[in-house]
Amino acid sequence: MTTTDATAVAVSHEAVRSPLREFWRKFRRNRTAMAAGVCLLALALTAAAAPWIAPFDPAAFDYDRILEGPSADHWAGTDAYGRDIFSRILWGARISLSVGLLSVLLGGVAGVALGLIAGFRGGLIDSLIMRVCDVLLAFPGILLAIGIVAILGPGIENVIYAVAIFSVPVFARLVRGSTLSLKRAVYVDAARAIGVRDRLLMVRHILPGTLPSVIVYVSMRIGTSILTAASLSFIGLGAQPPSPEWGAMLADGRSYIGVASHVTFYPGLAIFLTVLAFNLLGDGLRDALDPKLR
């Protein structure tokens, strides 16, 4: 018993590469994507630990040290109220990362479900879902988000919903496409032939096959979503001023351009590097998981 088990494991490790191993083997070779992944992991950890590692309270005023440039005390300088910009950026990372992650997960789950149903069922329900997606895609993302914020009111939570909605059609279209080809696969026919019910067919047999391309899009969309959320905050429709959201910090500091440019420089740099890292990670994931998407 034990010997057969051991042989089976040994064989599977040497002769057959599992999809996960195959992915890791390809992904590891892409040094840019690896570096981006490591940076994002570090950023996520730093953001999670912000309450303990941030050198200053992000909301604490210090009127003796307003608009100071970077120094040994204040690594990224201080803003117009003497608040430490570096600490605010650390706290802001919590907002930006959660907005990006939550909105894409929310939009992704809804989009995957709709795409799965549309592709699997076909017919009227398919055309209905896809027409709605066409209309949603017809709107430039930020315009749709502004429309939704206009209804729900400004604020960071509403930005999450607004940004989530324009991820829905992207995922729906993607998953519908792969579902259409997967539902004709032999193993799905076989499962159907032995009497597996439709819902189980969709969730157990088709959904896993669509996941590689979904994962690639998640990484790409998080970058876009963070950028859109920051833009909304910058034009005053997202996170509101005392919040250390990166876009709101730029909006706050724009009156000090030329006097104290560091107030806008560092939050801008934080947005840029984070979005860049997500995009590079997405490129690497795409090459390793699903080269067809290129």
Partner: protein, 306 residues
Amino acid sequence: MLKYLVGRLAGILPVLLVISVFVFGFVHLLPGDPARLVAGPDATQQDVELVRQDLGLDQPLWVQYGRFLGNAVQGEFGRSMKSKRPVSQEIGERFLPTLYLTIVAMVWATLAGLLIGVASATKRGRWQDHVGMIVAVSGIAFPSFWLGLLMIDLFSVKLGWLPTSGYGTWQHYVMPSLTLGLGVAAVMARFTRSAFIEIAREDYVRTARAKGVPARLVVWKHTLRNALIPIITMVGLQFGFLLGGSIVVETVFSWPGLGRLLVDSVNYRDYTVIQAEILLFSLEFIIINLLVDVLYAFANPEIRYS
């Protein structure tokens, strides 16, 4: 071709109808009473009722929608709640500045994107390619509002070469159009590169090279001309991106266009203006997509006849 055109035009009607229902429903989705919103916070109950009758808000919803659609087709959207001027007038003044800004940004971004893309593709794997693609990848991730502020800091405050905001002379266009076009130039560069590399693998390119056509001619005539077909589609898609981007860029540079009007109206809750703007933006986007499809069908007979 005519059949294709008619079919394509008929296809946009349902999309337009859905959008009009959405835009009409918009005011009714808002929390609170629209009549109270128009009348203002100090109005008496009697005033509110008068406004309700005046705007037809006491009628059944489908009657209201019919009236809304009839007026919208004639470009009539009521008055702005903020300035009390007709919405059509308010929007009419803002339309051209945004159009000009978008066109200037589109033209430079497309040309720059094409050049970078072709340079990267022809020097594939060499330093020109690496530099080009680093610029492109960074350009996509660059927040436009940050770029705008960085440029104001350098060119207006430190060097004093360009005005920080406003509209009128060519100097006013430099920074806003650069800011607006950066993302598009980056996307176009990446896309041109991959389209170009794909076409360069085709047999007819190899034949041209083999029979001794000069390299320059192979690049510009045999390869680029064929790569242009997917590139045209991409330009059309990017126009929508520019319309959205103009909202942010106009806020940075105080550009008197539709984007800033939209942000101001959302902040002021000026719903009649928001309604008209969303309808106008969607219409523009649909028309551009249609134009691109038609252009595409002209360039590629396979689509026209299928």
